[in-house]
Symmetry: C2
Subunit: 147 residues, 2 copies
DNA sequence: TTGCGAACCAACAATCGTTGCGAATACGGT
DNA sequence: ACCGTATTCGCAACGATTGTTGGTTCGCAA
């Protein structure tokens, strides 16, 4: 996702107005690597601008997604997550706490894929599921310090 | 997923009963490679057993998932898809029609993953998104025959 | 500065996918 | 056949997201 300033310009360029609400959302999303849900963004926005409506948050998130500034992820059942990181990256999902982290994968082009007869691949998403360090140490860690 | 017969035995072994509804679901799911939604399964089951409730379908699907006989996939927003194929495989998702197909990937162990500091990976899911042959030929196919 | 139209909000209602609940029913070990 | 318990099913409720409408605010181009 581009900077709030650049997004303001981009919004105006396509006839969308740059409102205070949208500016708050721009800055909350900029370089946000937490992969927040709409609800989480609304919560954070409410701290800065009390009264901002959840409806407006969804509206703006959808705008950003269709502009290609934001990626919408559906890695688990439940609410969608939003990702301003539009570089080529993939994700770690913690089954324990639901945290999502960025991960960078190289050598993907070398894997051998069997079964795509005629299917045209536009994007490849790799999702690693498991436990984050916090959740790992909390339970069932065979490498935990003694008893 | 095992055969309906084996599932019946497995259900009884853990104190679950083998009802006609469940038997219908067992046979509809066995070797089903369509990655159906709960709704789709309910529809198919209704043809065989009119009156079977959607609630029962969800109930049994959940049982099968927690027994490890069925995989639950959430590859897009919307309804979950269920997959009796428990072999090591991955998926193609058609953005056009929503079809999901199996695909087999080898050489995944050789990719270089950067950024998993302390994260414990239990499973890796690869999702290829694009267009199936049908949807490709329908629109925007640069290799389509003439006009 | 003014004016048009876009965006906002509040307050709902509605949709979709899924689960909770409770009364009636049926499986299956004895 | 009997009985305890699991299962079924219909309906209500849920969480996430979107539609609507009417009144107000406000960006921004002229
Ligand atoms: Mn990311
Ligand atoms: Mn599959
Ligand atoms: Zn965790
Ligand atoms: Zn298709």
């Amino acid at each position: 996702m581009r900077t709030p300033q650049e997004l303001s310009t981009a919004f105006r360029a396509i006839g969308l107005k740059v409102t205070p609400q949208r500016q708050v959302l721009f800055s909350l999303l900029h370089q946000n690597d937490a992969h927040p849900s709409a609800e989480a963004i609304h919560l954070a926005a409410s701290a800065v601008m009390p009264g901002i409506s959840l409806r407006t948050v969804y509206q703006t998130l959808n705008d950003l997604v269709s502009m290609g500034e934001l990626q919408q992820l559906q890695l688990t059942p439940g609410s969608a997550r939003f990702d301003p990181n539009t570089t080529d990256h993939h994700h770690l999902v913690c089954d324990g706490c639901g945290e999502i982290r960025d991960v960078y994968v190289s050598g993907l082009a070398d894997v051998d894929v069997c079964g795509l007869d005629g299917f045209r691949v536009a994007a490849t998403d790799v999702v690693f599921r498991g436990s984050c360090p916090t959740c790992s140490s909390a339970t069932g860690d065979p490498s935990a310090p003694h008893a």
